[in-house]
């Protein structure tokens, strides 16, 4: 569907910058005998923000998990910097940050401890960075409260603080705006814009209209409009 | 803060209809030594839709759970049709429908079986009603799929189908729009409006602007604007 060599050819999407980092080629996936998508191709370049759209059950979460390698019941190829991700798992994972429906926050530990462990799985950072990140997501007074004593939105913020301490190039966020209040939404949009500005790229699902200064590509998984 | 006798007195809020069904009087609650709200009073009449606002961690969920009786670490009085709810638990529960952060959908059972059980806890309904309700929330083809095979939004829809088969007067919904797609959001707003039209009342938390034809009262739990 898309040329797989020169990204400067005229038929690349307008916002695709110099080099396509992530390239998905003719992806096919079915679940429970329902084809979710077939022959799906797209690419995400550096400095590109891609919003995945689709009605409930259209396969957004499935797509993101397939790209991360958490789900391997698909056919097709996923390339990272021109090489299949399956051949270079570690390199790919080192540049990836995924936040899913389940936020990955341990409820016994405090936000600070949670972040420390998350970071150590990728690149350890010092405590100052962590405190800064927590302050920026509005958890200044809650650094040392066990996460089970935080509200739904506060837990979501703990997980979003990871965006601030990670050096990852590609962000994959599955409905990150869920349970965030208006300030939280605004802050996350600001974070996304910063990341894109710095040449990172992001794949985000959300049903809400992104309000960011940069261009937003849209990938719609709905074949037909949903009748609901 | 509010007169607790005649609802027709001039200082009742404008949209409050004839009779205040639910009345909350000088509620006080603290968690982890942080006062969430103190001396909070409001009332919800029939045909009234109340949106609870507040930043993350401001106590919206806590407030709703207190009203339902799922949380009793508070001070103050909650009246239902003029009587303390603690004196008439059963009557109150029979008129109440609560949908929380956790949707109350068993992952082994199918949407149909889930609804059947939910209904039987309050008022049993026949299978035709259930099938209708599921069709209306866009799960026509998914009635007999185990819920663990449904997406996040589809599970949310299963729980929203309860609104259609319940005779409850008071709906208490905690972020019901989470993970719904645009069609789902629109449908839920329509449901809310219908309920209000029929003289029901609802208490809803959401960070999103409700787009309903009826009047929406707002209860803001934030003392100060959040610095985020």
């Amino acid at each position: 569907m898309m040329p797989d060599t020169d990204p400067l050819l005229p038929d690349t999407p307008p916002a695709a910058h110099a080099e396509p980092l992530l390239k998905v080629q003719s992806l096919f996936c079915e679940r429970d005998e329902r084809v979710l998508f077939s022959d799906l191709s797209f690419s995400v370049g550096s400095g590109q923000l891609m919003q995945v759209l689709g009605s409930n059950g259209s396969g957004k979460t499935t797509l993101l998990r397939i790209i991360c390698g958490l789900n391997d019941s698909y056919e097709g190829t996923i390339l990272w910097r021109g090489m299949p991700v399956t051949d270079q798992r570690e390199t790919f994972l080192a540049s990836l940050l995924y936040i899913g429906h389940r936020v990955g926050v341990n409820r016994i530990l405090t936000p600070r401890e949670n972040l420390r462990w998350s970071a150590s799985l990728h690149t350890p950072v010092d405590d100052l960075r962590i405190a800064d990140a927590l302050a920026r997501v509005g958890l200044k007074a809650f650094e040392d409260v066990p996460c089970r004593n935080l509200s739904a939105g506060q837990n979501q913020r703990v997980s979003l603080a990871r965006l601030l301490i990670s050096p990852a190039t590609l962000w994959i966020l599955d409905e990150p705006f869920t349970t965030l209040d208006v300030y939280g939404v605004r802050e996350l949009e600001r974070l996304l814009a910063e990341h894109i500005d710095n040449g990172g790229s992001a794949l985000v699902t959300t049903h809400h209209r992104l309000n960011v200064p940069c261009a937003v590509e849209r990938l719609n998984l709905d074949g037909v409009e949903q009748p609901l | 803060m509010m007169p607790d006798t005649d609802p027709l007195l001039p200082d009742t809020p404008p949209a409050a209809h004839a009779e205040p069904l639910l009345k909350v009087q000088s509620l006080f609650c603290e968690r982890d030594e942080r006062v969430l709200f103190s001396d909070l009073s409001f009332s919800v009449g029939s045909g009234q839709l109340m949106q609870v606002l507040g930043s993350n961690g401001s106590g919206k969920t806590t407030l709703l759970r207190i009203i339902c009786g799922l949380n009793d670490s508070y001070e103050g009085t909650i009246l239902w049709r003029g009587m303390p709810v603690t004196d008439q638990r059963e009557t109150f529960l029979a008129s109440l429908l609560y949908i929380g952060h956790r949707v109350g959908v068993n992952r082994i059972l199918t949407p149909r079986e889930n609804l059947r059980w939910s209904a039987s806890l309050h008022t049993p309904v026949d299978d035709l009603r259930i099938a209708d309700a599921l069709a209306r929330v866009g799960l026509k083809a998914f009635e007999d799929v185990p819920c663990r095979n449904l997406s996040a939004g589809q599970n949310q829809r299963v729980s929203l189908a309860r609104l259609l088969i319940s005779p409850a007067t008071l709906w208490i919904l905690d972020e019901p729009f989470t993970t719904l797609d645009v069609y789902g959001v629109r449908e839920l707003e329509r449901l809310l409006a219908e309920h209000i039209d029929n003289g029901g009342s609802a208490l809803v938390t959401t960070h999103h602007r409700l787009n309903v034809p009826c009047a929406v009262e707002r209860l803001n739990l934030d003392g100060v604007e959040q610095p985020l």
Partner: protein
Amino acid sequence: MWLWFSKLGSPRWFYELSGRWLPWLYGAMALLLLVGLTWALLFVPEDYQQGHTIRIMYIHVPVASISLACFPLMAIAGAITLVWKMKLADMVAKCVAPIGLWFTGLALATGAIWGEPIWGTWWAWDARLTSMLIQFFLFVGVIALRSAIESPDAAARACAVLAIVGAINVPIIKYSVEWWNTLHQPASRISMDAMSPNPPEIWVPLLIMISAVYLLFVISLLLRTRNEILVRERRSQWVTDLIARSQS
């Protein structure tokens, strides 16, 4: 070689090939079973010690020896599933588990029925009996895991991991159990030595019965696997054609 391998991995090819084999296998099994059973039940002389109960041997020994082959078979199929993602291997692995469970159960049951007149008890914590019982548990574990995981793909790989880990353990279990109980009850050990002085009238029908039951095992595995192939490939063109043909 590689071609053959990938061909073998094709369920359709397997289905057609096994379809051609089955009639022959049926015939051979029927013949062997008929000969073996009549011989074993009617013509084998009574044992001077055991009387007619010796005839249980003609079921017990074949069933027991096959049940021992099932776990390794399942593990090999599992390894192929994990490494080459061959669908057919998983179908075999899935189908061999219940058969293994049945044969292990049968070996336990026939052994118990035999043990009652011989040892005066249905059950003893003898090494061989115990290791059979543990093998029974292992099969139950694999089957329980398979039925608990809903996605066929995930179930295939999870069961493959369990089968391999189990297969590494089977010899350890067998060894440890044998070594655990020989001190206490050496008398109740069963071995081929007991058989060796026996005349051909006894072991020839036994061999026939062993072959017959082996064929029974192969046939039931083939039938189950064919069934599984049809279920999993029900939406592929060749299966739809097959169904259309069988209905017209």
